[in-house]
Symmetry: C2
Subunit: 457 residues, 2 copies
């Protein structure tokens, strides 16, 4: 059908395995280092925080890792997720390009995050864990882990970055609806939180601080583990179901993308859409189609475009291992722009590695331009994107307008990782002209970079 806009897979076609890009990397990932010894960590070092099944996924080089059937059973509620051809957006832009988007907002939590929250909760329950702690920015991850916790009877405690906790009270209400406990970070519940509050009682928080708090609590109890919503290899792995489905759906559509676009905060939704396509290229050898893979990040927190590729901590209190990544420095506090899910000082080590290898591109936009793109998208396609997703929308629209200038009918695929229903205050502010294109503090960045740990080569 020539006017088809939706490409759906049957439940039988839902991927049965996650794709592990580590199996096909031309150069292996740099080692992860112990925060005390600076020596490479082994699985046992991570055991206080994660169940062994997830640690094994973290270090695995197997190409495919089976998705447990009970996890697939839950996924069936909303997966396979739809792939859409954005015909009305193409028309509105007057572009000869074909624009496709994979829509992850169909999950009950409204984003791609349940793709990893469900398996993380399941593997933890299999290991006998009764409580999970975590951090959240805008709240999409906290919402998703709360949802997963409700399904498996696991208690969930969420540390939400204070600026988002204050900006988005309705996300908290959703977490509470799922039965989770949500506290603003920095909090008085942890040593790391109290140390920050002692210095600055009105600290707006950051993902780095919230991670410190969640990790600190999890390490104290046998029956409690920690869950991370992005950055780690096993989290990126779980998100590859997005790209695996998209490959099959574009095949149905009879198209093959020239450009794949995703937004990047910690890197997980970007990895989800991009890694399976990268895998095709890496396995295909010299004859494989080379697609442009574009990461879009906020100009106010530009780890990939302005950060340093260096060993750094994942958190502010330096409780986590060190990974080599593009980082703005673990003490860097991004300004309070609305895409709270993208306010992280570092980038997933695997995404950073790809950038260093020249396998992906990165670009950065300010928030007003992203909201403008999101409104254009909403008026054409009906779906109101999350502020994070607006970065991908902006990236895709820029590519489509380039195609228009160049008279090319390229195929553009982007990941619409979530809807913006809980972010309407940001849209209100945008319409009222109250959104500022916030810039980070250059001297704070310089200081944070100067404070990077020194690691022997």
């Amino acid at each position: 059908m020539s006017d088809q806009i939706k490409f759906l897979l049957s439940e039988d076609q839902m991927p049965k395995a996650w794709y592990n890009l580590a199996a096909d990397l031309p150069v292996p990932l740099p080692a992860v280092l112990h925060p005390g010894t600076l020596q490479p960590v082994g699985p046992d070092d991570l055991a206080p925080l994660f169940p062994m099944a997830l640690i094994q996924q973290e270090v695995s080089t197997e190409r495919y890792i089976d998705i447990p059937e009970p996890v697939r059973q839950i996924f069936r509620q909303w997966r396979p997720a739809p792939l859409y051809r954005a015909r009305r957006l193409e028309q509105a832009l007057g572009t000869p390009a074909k624009i496709y988007y994979k829509y992850e907002g169909v999950s009950p939590a409204g984003s791609h995050k349940p793709n990893t929250a469900i398996p993380q909760a399941w593997f933890n329950r299999e290991a006998g864990i009764r409580k999970l702690t975590t951090e959240t920015g805008a709240g999409q991850w906290g919402t998703s882990l709360s949802f997963a916790g409700a399904l498996f009877g696991i208690e969930v405690q969420v540390f939400q970055v204070r600026v988002s906790y204050d900006q988005k009270p309705y996300r908290r209400a959703v977490m509470e609806t799922y039965g989770a406990q949500c506290v603003a970070s920095p909090s008085n519940l942890t040593q790391s939180g109290r140390a920050i509050l002692a210095q600055r009682p009105d600290h707006p928080g950051s993902l780095g601080i919230a991670i410190s708090e969640a990790v600190e609590l999890a390490a104290q109890r046998e029956d409690t583990k920690y869950a991370l919503g992005s950055v780690l290899n096993h989290v990126l792995l779980h998100q590859t179901i997005i790209g695996e489905e998209a490959i099959a759906q574009l095949e149905m559509a009879g198209d093959d993308p020239d450009v794949v676009v995703g937004c990047t905060g910690g890197g997980s939704n970007f990895a989800g859409i991009a890694f399976p396509f990268l895998g095709l290229q890496l396995r295909g050898g010299a004859s494989a189609k080379k697609r442009r893979i574009v990461a879009v990040e906020p100009a106010a927190c530009p780890s990939l475009t302005r950060g340093r590729y260096a060993y750094d901590f994942g958190d502010t209190a330096h409780l986590t291992p060190l990974t080599k990544m593009h980082t703005l420095g673990s003490t860097f506090t991004p300004p309070g722009f609305h895409a709270g899910g993208l306010r992280y000082h570092g980038m997933a080590p695997m995404v950073s590695h790809l950038k260093e290898l020249g396998l992906i591109e990165a670009t950065a936009y300010h928030q007003n331009a992203c909201f403008e793109a999101g409104v254009t998208f909403a008026r054409a396609e009906g779906i109101v994107p999350a502020p994070e997703a607006n970065h991908a929308v902006k990236g895709a629209i820029e590519e489509a307008l380039r195609c228009k200038r160049e008279g090319r009918s390229e195929v553009i695929l982007f990941n619409l990782c979530g809807h913006g229903h809980f972010d309407m205050q940001a849209y209100s502010d945008y319409f009222a002209g109250k959104l500022q294109d916030l810039n980070y503090d250059e001297s704070e960045l310089a200081m944070a970079l100067a404070g990077l740990p020194s690691v022997p080569a």
Copy 2:
């Protein structure tokens, strides 16, 4: 598959026609009366407000009315909508009943309302109309018409009941994202609004008042018409796509409902799920399966359970025709409970007629009980229902618990007409113990009923 939870139709199986219950009614609907002459109205009397195609649907007794292909093309973005088996809810309740729910929150606007917003906007555009006015309560209808307006390039002006306008600012932000204009009602923009404000400047508004304002503006201009989100026959007709799909999906599931449950404000989502099943029964004659059809309404605005079956106006300023319906009186102002979409003084004439004929049941619940049911549902099924939909959830859970007491494994179907993403303040209030089980003012009801127009038999 014994553990199947999702029942999806292919796009080809999307209904090609709406089902018109008027064709199968054992007793025809009472006539609609002109507000001036009290004589039955003809199509021309309605022409200032609606395009002729919709007026014809309003009075049609054809059993099936074709859904235009351009409307179906837009529906393809999210329809056919999923039918779910609520296995985890069944387990949580420990009921032997099977619970199914049709989920209409998958539309970009988040509710069933686009089912009629899209065709209404399309038929208006076909008639050359450039602007639509309408009313909205919680905002689901206003959002949906704004969405439809964006798709067809029709200007949309929404009068939102002030109590909801204040309670739910994010719904307004969505309407603005779609490019619509949203004003609080009563407003200063109309004579009807100004008259109310003169009496009571802090009037909380009502759907009846908002309708008056929207109708007043639409009647003033050739290129402007009025769109109603519920109550009218053609609106209920458009919603029958819900039940038509559900019949096919339950056939896939190998089940046939014993009880069909929907929430009722104006009656449209209830009609959508119920009428096709009623049609099966009415056409089947004496041998047809008799299903219980249960309408659930708010105890604070109980038109079906406490209203009078009488001729009344649809609006407060008495600009609309008179219809025979269950009504609390057009001057009745319901208290400001959270299910704003159910705060209407009257009930759809066709739903009222069915109640009089004994073909449906009605019951009413207070809001705390409904939110409790909604939280139980969310923790089991992951989807956070709209406050309106919580009434249907409550009704279905009550039926499931009855089955548990009676040891019956009946099949229960309910319509989950929308998600609650824009209603999280209500959930916050519920958790904080701040939600009151509001009661209407008995003397106000008595006065409103005493003021019903007297119509010669």
